[in-house]
Amino acid sequence: MIQFEHVSKVYETQSDENVALEDINIQIEEGEFVFILGHSGAGKSTFLKLMLMEEKPTKGKVFINGQDLTRLRRRKVPYMRRQMGVVFQDFRLIPTMTVYENVAFAMRVTNISSKTIKNRVPFALSLVGLEDKMDRLPDELSGGEQQRVAVARALAHGPKLIIADEPTGNIDPEMSMDIMQLFEAINKVHITVVVVTHEHELVQKLAQKYNNRVITLAHGQVASDTSHPEVAEMYEARMREMGMEPTYL
């Protein structure tokens, strides 16, 4: 489903080079629920931008559904993005559209008929418990509710992959657990879920409960992967070779 093959990303400034990701190898299979965990500056955002095709890697290849994103033509990018649903920390709902219209919009861009939209939007909103707030504007909702609208929007066009960027970053802890459980429910119907977050405690709690895979990024490298214990040993060896102390979070 998702494959990072020796991916490096270097941001060049006028005087400096900033290595955001260094020789990353990750494979995520269809139907998996994976947390990408890391502190600020670990490379999470770059990892996400590469998947969303906002950036291209300096080296290596990124595949989604077997399609090499590094060789994808610019005009094909929107069609690739339609294969996934994305949830952002700041919700990114269009403020001038109602809840219904925000969810319907993601379906309209994929040229789905109005009849199907009319049926599917209320269904998507009922999945996140917001069917009674369809006519509200985003600003009239709480942070948790806005995030649930964003989840409904991500689901509405029926993607096989959901990517969430710090989905609990702007909502209270109780609501955070609700949102994460919503993702668990989504994953149960064989939708691949990738949650990128820095919330270590929340991830530990959930991973223990649901046995999720956790990939930790540190210094732009994969520091650990619960599905591949050997990754941590390799990371520690690499860091010692560089004369650095291995850190995770």
């Binding site: 929107p78 993005r81 001038t96 919009f105 861009v109 008929s113 066009h157």
Partner: protein, 301 residues
């Protein structure tokens, strides 16, 4: 594209105008003011041009005939003068007419009619008006070649002066229109960019949910065209209304100066379609295409 998608995008463009009404209103206000300024400058130029034309038309030439011609020969000369290309008006003036005119002018000193009634020294002549004083030289040459024409009198220097004045006035007035149009394009483009900048996040969200550039651009295009056309309608109304009022006022309140300049402005029915069509084209091109292209850099997400 499905018809439902097309209808949705058109509706979305109109919805966005309402949703962002403050920016839409500001943008339309700027567009309207700019169009009014350009329209006013254009009408000013057209009228200056017409006035200079009128003054030029008052430039008369005289064709003197040889003495002792029969009525038939005089009529034949008149027909030949009329047939010269560029001649628009020909008036016959008999020796008696000239004598009477001079007699009237000098009535307090002498009685010319009595003195010269039996031996009128004046020649028959034709007063000639040409359509374009810029072509006075070849016309005079043609007139001189006509049978029984003794000489042609024309104020060539004055004619040339009029042509020069008209050229300068044309350059200045149409230059003014061009400068105002350019300023309007810059101002309108900036306003559109500001409107689009205020909605860059919205554009970014659309891109991230998989919208194509065309899908994002189309509602902006609809919005731009609609606001451009509304501005065109408003400015056409203001400019044509104000011009008609000015036209009536000018006509009903003649002054010595206005009479010298022709006594009337260019009638509204001769210019309104230039104004309306110009504004509609300006509104469509500037606002529609301007909006659609202004979002280009925000589409690189």
């Amino acid at each position: 594209m499905r018809f439902s998608s097309f209808a949705y995008l058109v509706g979305q463009g109109l919805h966005n105008m309402r949703a962002n009404r403050l920016m839409t209103f500001a943008s339309m206000g700027v567009q309207t003011v700019c169009m009014i300024l350009v329209g006013a400058a254009l009408l000013f130029s057209m009228n200056i041009d017409a006035m200079v034309d009128y003054i030029g038309e008052q430039n008369e030439s005289y064709v003197y005939l040889v003495d002792g011609l029969s009525d038939e020969q005089i009529t034949a000369a008149g027909e030949a003068i009329k047939a010269v290309p560029g001649v628009v008006e020909v008036t016959y003036i008999s020796p008696t007419d000239v004598l009477t005119e001079f007699d009237d002018m000098l009535s307090s000193y002498t009685n010319l009619t009595d003195t010269f009634s039996s031996d009128n020294p004046f020649h028959s002549m034709y007063k000639v008006v040409v359509d374009d004083v810029a072509n006075i030289d070849p016309i005079i040459e043609d007139l001189s070649m006509i049978e029984n024409v003794e000489s042609v009198s024309a104020t060539r220097e004055l004619s040339k002066l009029f042509v020069s004045v008209q050229t300068v006035v044309n350059y200045i007035s149409y230059g003014l229109v061009a400068v105002l149009a350019l300023v309007s394009i810059v101002v309108i483009n900036n306003t559109i960019r500001l409107t689009v900048f205020a909605r860059r996040k919205e554009i970014g969200i659309m891109k991230l949910v998989g919208a194509t550039n065309g899908f994002i651009r189309f509602p902006f295009f609809v919005e731009g065209v609609t606001s451009g056309l509304i501005s065109a309608a408003a400015s056409s109304g203001v400019v044509c209304g104000a011009y008609y009022a000015l036209y009536r006022f000018y006509l009903e309140n003649p002054t010595t100066l206005s009479n010298l300049l022709g006594g009337t402005l260019v009638p509204l029915e001769e210019v309104w379609y230039y104004i309306v069509l110009g504004f509609v084209a300006f509104g469509f091109v500037m606002c529609g295409i301007g909006t659609a292209t202004s979002i280009r850099k925000h589409l690189n997400v």
